[in-house]
Amino acid sequence: MSDNPQSPTALPNKPSQAWAQRLKGARQFLISFVILFLVWELAVHAFDVKSYLLPAPSLIWQEFSGRWRYVLDNTWVTTSEILVGYLIAIAVSVPLAVFVAYFPTMERTIYPIIVFLQIVPKIAIAPLFIIWFGFGFTPKILLVFLLSFFPIVVSSIAGFKSIDEETMELAKSTGASSWMIFRKIRLPHAMPAIFTGLKVAAALSSTAAVVAEFVASDKGLGYLLLRYNGDIETPMVFATIMVLSIVGLVVYYAVEYIEKISIPWHVSQRSDTSRFDVSS
C-alpha cells in the first residue's frame, strides 16, 4: 500500500514525520507574516502614509516596546475575563446538555427557551449588565459566559442525542447501568460535537470580553483600545489589536490542541487521509 517511495505522507502517523509536517506549516506561516509586514512597512514609507492613519510596523513596535508592561497588565485582565467566563460556560452548558438529552421533559421545556434566547443579540444586553452588576469583573464574565454558552449547549445536545439506535441496543443488551453507558458510550460519542461548540465559543469569547470592556471599564484591552483611539494614538491601537488577536489565537489553539489529544480517533483529527490511498 505504501510501497511508493515518493510519498513520505503515506505513514504520517510516525511522530517524527508529524512534527516535521507541523514545523513546516509553522515556517510557512511565519514567512507569509514576515512578507506581509515587509510590504506594509515599505508601502507606508513609499506612499508617505500619515502615521495616525496607518502606522508602519516599525513604529508600532517602537511605541509598544516602550509600554509593553502596561499593555501586558491589561492583557491579563482581559484574558482572565475570557477564561473565567468561558470555563463557567463549559461547566454549565455541558451538564445542561446532558439533562436535555436524557430527559424528554427537559427537552420539551428548556430546549425551546434555549433556542429562543440564542436569537437574542447578546451583545445588546451588555449595557444592562452594567446597570445590574456595575463596573467590575462580573458583567464582563457574564457576557463572555453568555456568548460562549449557546454554541456549546446547542452542539453538545446534538452530540449527546445523535447516537444511533443499534449502539444503544448493544449497550442495553449488556445490562450496563446508565452511568456506565454514559461514561463509555454517550460521552465519548458526544466529544467531537462538544469540541465543535467549544471552538466556536472560544472564538466568540474574546469578542465578548472586549465588547463588555467597551461599555464600561477602567482596565483591559477593550478599555485600552477605546482610550488610545480617543487619543488618536494609532500605533498603540494597532499594537492592542495585535495583542488581542494573539490572545484569541492562543485560546482557540489551546482548545484545538486539547481536542487533538482527547479525540485523536475522530475524522476531523485524522491528518492522514492518504492512509488508504493506493493510487500512486
Binding site: D164, E166, T167, E169, L170, A171, K172, S173, T174, G175, A176, M180, I181, K184, I185, P188, H189, M191, I263, W265, H266, V267, R270, R275, F276
Partner: protein, 284 residues
C-alpha cells in the same frame, strides 16, 4: 478453528450449568410500527419456539420483519400483541445473557478492534484484562489478528462485521443472535465463517438464531429454517433440516440439501418473492 480459552467466570463449552441455557417461546406475536400517519405491520401472528442448543435460521426477503423478530426476543422492542418468553420468563426488558451481531457492525469509532471487543465485558462489569487472551484468539480465528490495534475506519466492511461477531462471542453467551452476520463478506470468507460457526456451535451448543438472505446458508447451518414472507411479516413454513453434522463443505452435494433449498425456493416463488424462470429446477 475456535480453539479459544474459555471466557472467565462463564460457562464452560459443552455443558452449561443450569439456568444459563435458553429456550425461546414466541406466542402469536404481532408488531405494528406507528409513525405519524403511517402504520407498518412488521409482524403478524408469529408463533415460534426455539429449544435449547437449537440452531434456527430465518430466511425471508428484505422488510419481512426478521430484524424486528430478533429485537423482540432480545427485549429491545416489545410486541404490540402476543408475548415473547425466554427461559419461561416473559421478556419485558432487554435480556442480557446473549450475544448479538447486528446487521450493521456497530463499532465505536474511538476504540480499536480489541477494545471494541472488550467493550462487551467492560459493560458487564467484568475485568477486560481477563478476557484479552480469549479476544486475541477469537480475532485470530476470524482472520483479524493483525488488526487488533486498528481503528474501525481502517477496516473494510467485512472486517468490521467480523469484529462485531467476535464481540458477540467474547463472553461466551448461551444465546447467540446474528442478523445477517456474513452479509458484507466475500464468498470465500463467508464459506469459511459458516464452517467455523458450525464448529463453534457443535463445540459449545449455544442456542443460535441466525438471520440470513441466503437460502443455502440457512439450510447448511440450521436444524430448522424459518421461512418468512413480507407485508405483513409472518412465518410461512418451518422446515426441519436433517443433514448430518458436521456439514462442512460436503453437505451441498446431499440430496437432502437440494430438497430443502428447492422447497424454500418454491415457497418464495409461490409468494411472489421470487419470480420468472418458473421452469428452472432451482435458482443459482
Amino acid at each position: 478453528m475456535y480453539e479459544v480459552p474459555d471466557a472467565p467466570g462463564t460457562s464452560s463449552p459443552g455443558g452449561s450449568p443450569d439456568g444459563t441455557e435458553i429456550s425461546i417461546a414466541i406466542n402469536n406475536v404481532g408488531k405494528i410500527f406507528q409513525s405519524d400517519n403511517k402504520e407498518t405491520i412488521a409482524l403478524d401472528g408469529v408463533d415460534l419456539s426455539i429449544k435449547r442448543h437449537e440452531f434456527v435460521a430465518i430466511v425471508g426477503p428484505s422488510g419481512c420483519g426478521k430484524s424486528t423478530l430478533m429485537r423482540l426476543i432480545a427485549g429491545l422492542t416489545f410486541p404490540t400483541s402476543g408475548s415473547v418468553a425466554v427461559d419461561h420468563v416473559v421478556v419485558d426488558q432487554a435480556i442480557t445473557n446473549l450475544g448479538i451481531v447486528f446487521q450493521k457492525p456497530v463499532l465505536l469509532e474511538w476504540r480499536n478492534v480489541l477494545n471494541n471487543v472488550l467493550l462487551q465485558v467492560e459493560m458487564r462489569g467484568l475485568n477486560p484484562k481477563d478476557f484479552e487472551d480469549r479476544a486475541h484468539e477469537l480475532l485470530r480465528s476470524v482472520g483479524l489478528s493483525d488488526f487488533a490495534n486498528s481503528y474501525p475506519y481502517e477496516l473494510s466492511g467485512g472486517m468490521q462485521q467480523r469484529a462485531g461477531i467476535v464481540r458477540a462471542l467474547i463472553h461466551d453467551p448461551p444465546l447467540l443472535m446474528m442478523d445477517e452476520p456474513f452479509g458484507a463478506l466475500d464468498a470465500l470468507t463467508r464459506e469459511q465463517m459458516r464452517i467455523d460457526l458450525e464448529e463453534l456451535w457443535l463445540a459449545t451448543k449455544k442456542t443460535v438464531l441466525f438471520i440470513t438472505h441466503s437460502i443455502d446458508e440457512a439450510v447448511l447451518l440450521a436444524d430448522r429454517v424459518v421461512v418468512m414472507s413480507p407485508r405483513p411479516g409472518k412465518i410461512e413454513t418451518i422446515i426441519d433440516i436433517n443433514l448430518e453434522r458436521p456439514r462442512g463443505l460436503a453437505a451441498r452435494k446431499y440430496p437432502e440439501f437440494e430438497k430443502a433449498v428447492d422447497r424454500i425456493t418454491e415457497i418464495f416463488l409461490a409468494k411472489g418473492v421470487l419470480h420468472g424462470g418458473r421452469n428452472r429446477a432451482k435458482p443459482v
